[in-house]
């Protein structure tokens, strides 16, 4: 039956492409998590009245974040060609997409991180100060754990954005389900391949959403 509806779909190609999409998404989610939390922390801490209050650092970070967020992803990939070539040594394949994916998603996530930190009760941070906590203790034992549900739902949204970024990256040769849909589907007029790729992508998105919702709910003891 499957071969009736999807005559041109080769399951082996589908699995390979799924693996590439997952590879790109997972690695770039990890990269985004690290870079985004660092940037978000910098934005938050350098704000007026916070632990590292610093106008210069705050405005430089905020501008960088805003500029990267304003660049459409497809253009960001093109802009980053030289950097990608330098870092990865190639412009093709899933690895080559990683710098653009991370730089495209991290600024967005950084803003979500900043909002999550802002929502941490000021009184709790103050209580930690009255106990003599150092800044790193406040970051690791107050800010991060107290904002964990928001950090997780933020990375869930970002991960879903990243799945769609990988599909776009696929069109310029990064591999994955987007690449498959475009090269083996659209260009050959084999629309069943496009539909099958779409179904796979939607399932991946649902799985990310499910894991994210589960974790964030489980950790939320408020």
């Amino acid at each position: 039956m499957l071969s009736e509806w999807f005559p041109n779909v080769v399951m082996e190609d589908m699995w390979d492409a799924t693996y590439e999409t997952l590879y790109m998404t997972v690695i770039s989610v990890i990269g985004t998590l690290i870079l985004g939390i660092l940037l978000g922390l910098l934005l938050f801490l350098s704000e007026r009245g916070n632990l590292w209050q610093n106008r210069l650092i705050n405005s430089v970070t905020a501008s960088a974040v805003n500029i990267f967020r304003a660049i459409p992803f497809i253009i960001l990939i093109l802009l980053l060609f030289p950097l990608t070539d330098f870092l990865v040594g190639t412009l093709r394949g899933p690895k080559a997409a990683l710098p653009a994916l991370i730089l495209g998603a991290a600024p967005f996530y950084a803003r979500l991180v900043e909002i999550a930190f802002k929502e941490v009760d000021k009184g709790v941070i103050e209580a930690a100060k009255t106990m003599g906590a150092k800044t790193h203790t406040i970051i690791f034992k107050v800010l991060l754990p107290e904002s964990m549900p928001a950090l997780i739902s933020g990375i869930t949204v970002t991960a879903i954005n990243l799945v769609s970024f990988t599909a776009m990256a696929g069109i310029i040769g990064a591999g994955g389900l987007g690449d498959l849909a475009y090269l083996k589907g659209f260009q050959r007029r084999d629309y069943d391949v496009v539909v099958a790729s779409t179904i796979f992508i939607v399932i991946i998105v649902f799985i990310f959403q499910f894991i994210g919702d589960y974790l964030s709910k489980k950790l939320d003891k408020r």
């Binding site: 103050e126 100060k129 009255t130 034992k141």
Partner: protein, 342 residues
Amino acid sequence: MISIQGLSKLYKTKHQNVQAVDDVSLNIEQGEIFGVIGYSGAGKSTFIRLINRLEEPTGGHINIQGTDITNLPINQLRKRRQKMGMIFQHFNLLWSRTVFDNIAFPLEIAGISKSERQEKVQELIDLVGLKGREKSYPSELSGGQKQRVGIARALANDPDVLLCDEATSALDPETTDDILDLLVSINEKLNLTIIMITHEMHVIQKVCHRVAVMDQGKVVEHGDVLDVFVKPQSKTAKRFVQQLNPLEHKQDSLKRFITEDESTEVIKLHFIGNDAKRALISEVVKTFDVEVNILQGSISPTQEGAYGTLYVELNGNESVIAETLKFIEASGVEVEVIRDVK
């Protein structure tokens, strides 16, 4: 133990400058519960936050057990803060940690080993009466229980002073009394100095030994709680004392007893400490040829003994009344003859 000299805090904002704390000097003794009372905006919170330098003073000095807190570099200040507990109106617990882990937090900061933490936290949980709730999260506790966690957390590193900013203001009257009782018992058990910020005279009356009254950043009056109660000097203190016992100060109802007639006088008696237990009125009636008509009275227990007032009308010969008044004064009870009502 804590000596505060000329403490000031000036907030500068774009639109105005606010002198939140204005040249405050106070001495707080080891082991006492020191109250600070004032209306909203009087500068109480600012004052207490200056003591552990959550706010930087713009003038003056705070000396705690020989160390000038105001000049301490930040790393030493952090160490010192571990020995200064603080509890808050809104508890400020970490929702992501259980009761046990919340209380363990200051111990983690102080670098105490895990096994020692375990032991200490258990001890504190017993002290504040939260046995069996170790694994609960703050969201599963009532306000009173949350404040107990706050108190346990503040005591974790065996502080020598406990700072309380409106610690009972978010609680209902009954829970307030429970928390106040707990604070008094901790004060007695550990000989812990407590500084208590509040806007409720009831709290001062119930737990404090001494009190300072704040108004617009200044301490307008301070002294033993009983003295401030019996003879409030400043307008602010008077208003607070009235808030505690509205009946006593609603003198309108006394008006019709007050006359020009020399053979009747309305007098107010102050009983302080052990006097409050004396059978003075019956002594008076037995000794003098006067009629005593009791109009109204009240008694308020404080940390330093009870304080009572009694309004009575004396009917009798003018000279006998004068003698009666002398007798009462000689017995140590303070008398005030009420001639007119404000």
